[in-house]
Symmetry: C2
Subunit: 166 residues, 2 copies
């Protein structure tokens, strides 16, 4: 059998910068585990690591903005990744504006969705946040989204997969 | 603002034929709402429509196989789609073999993951099934997965989106 990490790369996702805010406190982090899960009501599921610095802001702010990255925006995925450290202001020097909820919309994102927390559930070492989109915009209709499978080992996740399944 | 359906197409997913089985009763359906959600334990989240004919088989069989479709396998996505009707045997004429769990692996899939149900949660008009992969194979490492955004209006979902958000 091929490597488990290689196998999981065939479960396709995009790459997002997830913006959160509670009042004037703001943060953002790179995530890939996001999918629509319902039509009525319209819901997205985002899987988040509870140990991220953004997690308490996501809860206290009551929502998140999913910023869709473009195929050539690997540098933004990197700038907001866990390897960038939790003590620096990741938003410094990157153009953004507040969504209706206050969470940061990256000006360069090809699309964004501003979501309020609808429900949440434990999912192993992460938590699934169900988000109800209340605003959004397709900024660059002709741009292709970045695929997680094209980010290489940017996030260093390869070592987090088991050696075999079962 | 652009059409909500167009906006949601920027939330990237792959396209899968989800195989289920309970003993000798088998079925399969096309799905796009699948993502990894946890590393330890390794978990996938699949959002399923409880009204699908496959749903009771998924529950009674206790798991599912996610078959990853290749970019040129739109015909398989169509063959297992909801528009193909619930009374016909969708697997007839399509090469498959049983996974360790008994659920169908499509021989032509580029990869497959055999998952047992770890947990499940209500998510609007769907249900999120958390699956723990117990077996899997990357059959065609050089093939590109089909993207949902490239399936056009194959599933007729455009009309299921609201006209506006909020």
């Amino acid at each position: 059998m091929a490597d488990v990490a290689d196998l999981f790369r065939r479960v396709t996702t995009g790459v997002y910068v997830i913006g959160v805010a509670d009042g004037e406190r703001r943060n953002a982090f790179t995530a890939a585990w996001l999918t629509q899960v319902s039509f009525d009501p319209l819901l997205l599921a985002l899987s988040v690591n509870r140990e991220h610095a953004s997690y308490p802001l996501l809860l206290s702010g009551g929502g998140f903005v999913a910023n869709v990255l473009r195929r050539d925006q690997l540098h933004l995925a990197e700038a907001f990744g866990t390897r960038s450290g939790r003590d620096q202001d990741k938003l410094a020097g990157i153009p953004w504006r507040p969504a209706p909820s206050g969470a940061p919309i990256l000006t360069q994102a090809i699309a964004w969705l501003d979501c309020r927390i609808h429900d949440r559930f434990a999912a192993g070492d992460h938590e699934i946040i169900l988000g109800r989109p209340v605003a959004g915009e397709l900024v660059a209709p002709d741009a292709d989204p970045l695929l997680y499978q094209d980010t290489g080992d940017l996030d260093g996740s390869r070592e987090l997969y088991p050696r075999a399944l079962g």
